[in-house]
């Protein structure tokens, strides 16, 4: 494959149209595209899709390391397995795992065994933990409060039996772990969403903050620099210093620690001991039960203690235990909270109440329900 290109650099302005979806589909899927009529579960990790033509395919879901970080070495193993036992195609799932596609149950079971041998468990469908999605955090990001992949690892290590199906859950469970309030793990509409945040107002780095400010205070008369303009609560004040340069001040009474300023300027500092995670519970995007909704902030702050993160794991375990105790079969956390009441749910979790988790219960009508004029 060793090809060398020595194009004119200006050629690089010619972007490429991303490839069409059909280019990489196996023939059996092309033949039965849109003709699937039934599905069967074979354990937690294998789904059989049956076409109206009678053909069927089997998908196997296999868990990947947190943030789906894999080395080329592991990728080659995946390619090998897909070539030997699959239909030479895999699918990257939204929950950062991988799906193998094959044409017989025996081959599917073989894939489960081989991947298990490599240390990658199969599971994650039906009434189980579907995925713990993580952002990249300290691996590649500069804005982060806590490290999401290692928290994800700590959570997965405990919750793995729920993924493989050895332990049962009342319904599907999605967990998202984000390292900061940007929520790059995807969404706040998850069953349990762990969001890292600073828990404090940012402190401008006295030496380096100048890189985010105009050099002369004259500029302030014309435009508000990004670093102050992005603040949704106007907590960042810029002012002219006596020497004509620009000063910056953060009002920690107003600050909501949303991290927007950190997004546009790296040079804010924080005290690592005040950093923590908030735990949001009961959201979902699916229209089942009471419909799509964002999650409630039930726990505003939990201390972060790497590398085991016992506090965070214990809090998530408590929430899952309370859900398991109260849920009727098939109920996701949000629906259980709706039935027993948020107040009661929080009482059973036992979390101290403060101004930060005074959640208001509301009846929501989101997603496709906005198109139904039934009231």
């Amino acid at each position: 494959m060793a090809e060398t290109f020595v194009p004119d650099p200006s050629e690089r302005i010619n972007k490429r149209i991303p490839m069409p979806y059909a280019a990489q589909l196996p023939d059996i899927i092309k033949r039965n595209y849109g003709k699937w009529v039934d599905r069967k579960f074979h354990g937690n990790g294998i789904i059989e899709h049956i076409s109206e033509s009678g053909e069927s395919i089997f998908t196997v879901k296999v868990g990947l390391p947190p943030n789906s970080r894999i080395s080329v070495d592991t990728l080659k193993k995946i390619i090998d397995v897909a070539d030997t036992y699959g239909l030479k195609v895999v699918r990257a799932t939204r929950g950062m795992n991988v799906e193998f596609i094959t044409d017989s149950l025996d081959k599917a079971k073989k894939i489960v065994d081989i991947m298990k041998g490599y240390g990658f468990p199969a599971g994650g469908w039906g009434n189980s933990l579907w995925h713990i999605t993580s952002c990249t955090a300290y691996l590649t990001c500069s804005t982060f409060a806590v490290d999401a992949p290692s928290i994800t690892k700590a959570l997965y290590d405990y919750f793995m039996p729920y993924f493989t199906g050895e332990e049962k859950l009342p319904s599907k469970l999605d967990i998202f772990v984000s390292g900061c309030t940007n929520i790059c793990a995807g969404t706040l509409a998850g069953d349990i969403v762990v969001v890292g945040h600073w828990g404090q107002a940012p402190t401008p780095d006295p030496e380096k903050i100048k890189f985010c400010l105009p050099t002369s205070a004259e500029a302030l008369k014309k435009v508000t620099p990004d670093v102050a303009a992005v603040c949704p609560v106007n907590a960042i004040k810029l002012y002219a210093k006596e020497d004509g340069s620009v000063g910056i001040e953060v009002d920690d009474k107003r600050c909501i620690a949303c991290g927007r300023c950190k997004n546009v300027c790296d040079y804010f500092d924080w005290d690592p001991d005040k950093v923590g995670v908030a735990v949001f519970v009961g959201g979902k995007t699916s229209n089942t039960g009471s419909g799509p909704r964002l999650a409630y902030r039930i726990v505003p702050w939990v201390p972060v203690n790497p590398p085991e993160y016992r506090e965070i794991v214990a809090v998530v375990r408590k929430i899952v235990d309370v859900w398991k105790k109260n849920a009727e079969s098939g109920e996701r956390i949000g629906d259980t909270i709706d039935r027993i009441g948020l107040e009661e749910f929080m009482r059973q979790v036992g979390v101290p109440k403060s101004r930060h988790n005074a959640c208001i219960e509301v009846s929501w009508n989101f997603g496709v329900r906005q198109f139904i004029k039934y009231v």
Binding site: P65, L294, W301, Q370, I372
Partner: protein
């Protein structure tokens, strides 16, 4: 430990030793994977143990390529980290032939590390800075993909597997994603940084919304239907007889009370006017109960996780018969958004500032005959919090009591 200690970024063996704990445990470890590559793991170890990001954002560019390249440098300035976001095919079906090319790029031009299922929808490949120019050429000419999807432009689109792998898909999500992504009027915005902030487009085939489109895309397409689900009474009776389905459970689990069960005639009735498309009955009694025949696509706008006024869910706009019908509306809204939104405001922030009329008027003009939605109002959410010392102590105590409950005396 003070902040000035942190700023020196002194790497130590202790941090690496502590990181070894993350290699234990039953779940596959990212640290084990990182150690197989040339990733500067000492810096990651330092970051994790100090609760402080090891990276500053770096500036790195390949001439004429304006999106999809991200770079970081370490606080001590010794190490840099560059990664590319590459587009994947709709539904993210990846053939092994394609994966082999990715492996080739990651090995020859990168450090042997990739993010296999990136959250925007892309595959992220770590690249060596001095080979980045050639890597672009290889990704375009050999891999057959392109870099892109970062910054203030269209992010990678995302579609659920749809008709390729799912029985519930109500329209062709993959074709829809391809149509929009390669349409000249949309495609012209790729590899540019023209918008006030990012724009995301996601496609879900049914109200289950596996793409998470309801909560994370500025333009949301969700398959739905009008009226009641389709019931095959014969098949349902069979399923009830064999014990797979309990009709009482079907009635009970319907959130709108649209289902009734006639015990004498052994028939299930669903009131189409009341039906909320919650899919609870379909999930329990598929394939005896299926989505209705009068299929539509719900077009919604404005959800996100990250923006000026905090996370939002989508506002409903109109019911479409075909995914192609939304194109003039999308172009119109992009135009309104680009002209009116302040920098780093998402579409929903503009809606909150200027009112939903902005969108509903665009919809009236560009989608004249389509049934419109009644959008719900939103609560304001904040994700972070500034805590007082007392509050911090209270939550620490509580967390400690839980640790004691679950881990016992072994700490």
């Amino acid at each position: 430990m003070t902040i000035s200690d942190i700023k020196e970024q002194k790497l130590s063996e202790d941090d690496m030793k502590a990181l070894e704990k993350l290699e234990k445990g039953p779940w596959p470890s990212h640290v084990t994977e990182l150690k197989k590559t040339k990733y500067p793991i000492e810096y990651y170890a330092w970051g994790v143990m100090h609760k402080y990001s090891p990276w500053y954002s770096g500036s790195f560019r390949v001439r004429y390529v304006f999106s999809g390249i991200l770079a970081r440098r370490s606080r001590d300035g010794k190490v840099s980290e560059v990664h590319f976001r590459t587009y994947s095919p709709a539904g993210r079906f990846l053939s092994t032939a394609y994966l082999k090319k990715i492996a080739y790029v990651a090995e020859q031009y990168g450090i042997g590390l990739l993010e296999f299922a990136g959250n925007t929808g892309s595959i992220v490949i770590n690249i060596q800075p001095d080979k980045a120019d050639q890597a672009i050429d290889i990704i375009r000419n050999v891999m057959g993909s392109d870099v892109g999807g970062s910054g203030d432009t269209f992010r990678e689109f995302y579609a659920c597997p749809g008709p390729a792998l799912c029985e519930f898909a109500l329209y062709d999500t993959l074709a829809a994603m391809d149509f929009y992504r390669s349409h000249p009027e949309i495609y012209k915005f790729f590899n540019t940084q023209l918008f006030p902030y990012k724009i995301k487009v996601k496609f879900s085939g049914c109200p289950f919304d596996c793409a998470g489109a309801n909560a994370r895309s500025d333009f949301t397409f969700i398959g739905t239907w009008v009226g009641a689900p389709e019931v095959d009474q014969e098949k349902l009776r069979e399923m009830i007889k064999s014990g797979k389905v309990d009709p009482k459970e079907l009635v009970k689990r319907c959130p709108s009370g649209a289902i009734s069960w006639d015990d004498d005639r052994q028939q299930l009735k669903i009131d189409g006017d009341k039906c909320l498309k919650a899919m609870n009955c379909i999930k329990m009694a598929f394939p005896a109960i299926k989505p209705g025949k009068n299929r539509k696509i719900a077009l919604l706008v404005g959800s996100h996780a990250q923006a000026h006024y905090g996370p939002r869910l989508s506002w409903g706009v109109a019911l479409l018969d075909d995914y192609k019908e939304a194109l003039p509306f999308i172009l119109k809204v992009i135009d309104i958004y680009s002209n009116n939104a302040p920098r780093r405001h998402r579409l929903a922030d503009l809606i909150l500032r200027r009112g939903f009329r902005l969108i509903s008027e665009a919809a009236k003009e560009t989608l004249p005959d389509k049934p419109k939605a009644t959008p719900s109002s939103h609560l304001r959410f904040t994700t972070g919090a500034v805590l007082s010392d007392d509050e911090r102590v209270a939550y620490t105590e509580w967390a400690k009591s839980l640790v004691k409950e679950y881990y016992g005396g072994e700490q």
